[in-house]
Symmetry: C2
Subunit: 116 residues, 2 copies
Amino acid sequence: MEARAPRPGVPVRGSESGRPVMAALDLLGRRWAMRILWELSQAPSGFRELQRRCERMSSSVLSTRLDELTGARLLALHSDGYRLTPLGQDLVEALSPLDAWSRRWAREMDSAAAED
Amino acid sequence: MEARAPRPGVPVRGSESGRPVMAALDLLGRRWAMRILWELSQAPSGFRELQRRCERMSSSVLSTRLDELTGARLLALHSDGYRLTPLGQDLVEALSPLDAWSRRWAREMDSAAAED
DNA sequence: GCCCCTTGCTTCGATTTTCGAATCAGTATC
DNA sequence: GATACTGATTCGAAAATCGAAGCAAGGGGC
């Protein structure tokens, strides 16, 4: 399958500029993309294990995303399964504040719901 | 329109657990969601201005995303347009390392392309 | 050899999401 | 009343995703 992943420097969905951050937002905004990176940061996984860990995501989309993320040099297939590249690990680290934020979000949504 | 935004504590697409970070990944993984937050962090904007800044994204999707993000308490409509809430500002800050990462990504993709 | 199991991955029809141009209703200005 | 904004909706078309079935390759066990 031919991967048509967004790349920095090339116009992507929603941005003619090719600004790197826009390409990143396009790549990461595709369904399951961040989830896949998240799961692989916990442990390298093969295709089917990854599918199980993402609660049976569609194999066709998993295949497409793996192609795109591999093409973007964020991960690679080794003998023990897919693994993040150093670049991919950096991305997950850049995204890691999201976990703490989401817990604060959960608290605020709870107290907001309690007020209604 | 009724917003069916992911919320922490409630199972979302791809996760039965309701873990906050999974709800966040679902919400942010929808098309244009992160881009909208990104643009609003640069400057508050009205509906049409936002649409222009996102290079003519579909108005129907913009409307849906605005509903979802508003329901998630990440933004709100004021007299001068849509604005991030403090919670939404925190999210954008949590995502801000992405900009620096994307520039490193751009450099690595360039040098990788040069080798081919 | 053959059988059985697992792997990464593709196929393809059905469903969901997104697109985008037209349009609506509300408000302000003249 | 006419014009020009605004946020937002409608709806048929296009694209993305789903998901069950299946394929080809590899590794034992016999």
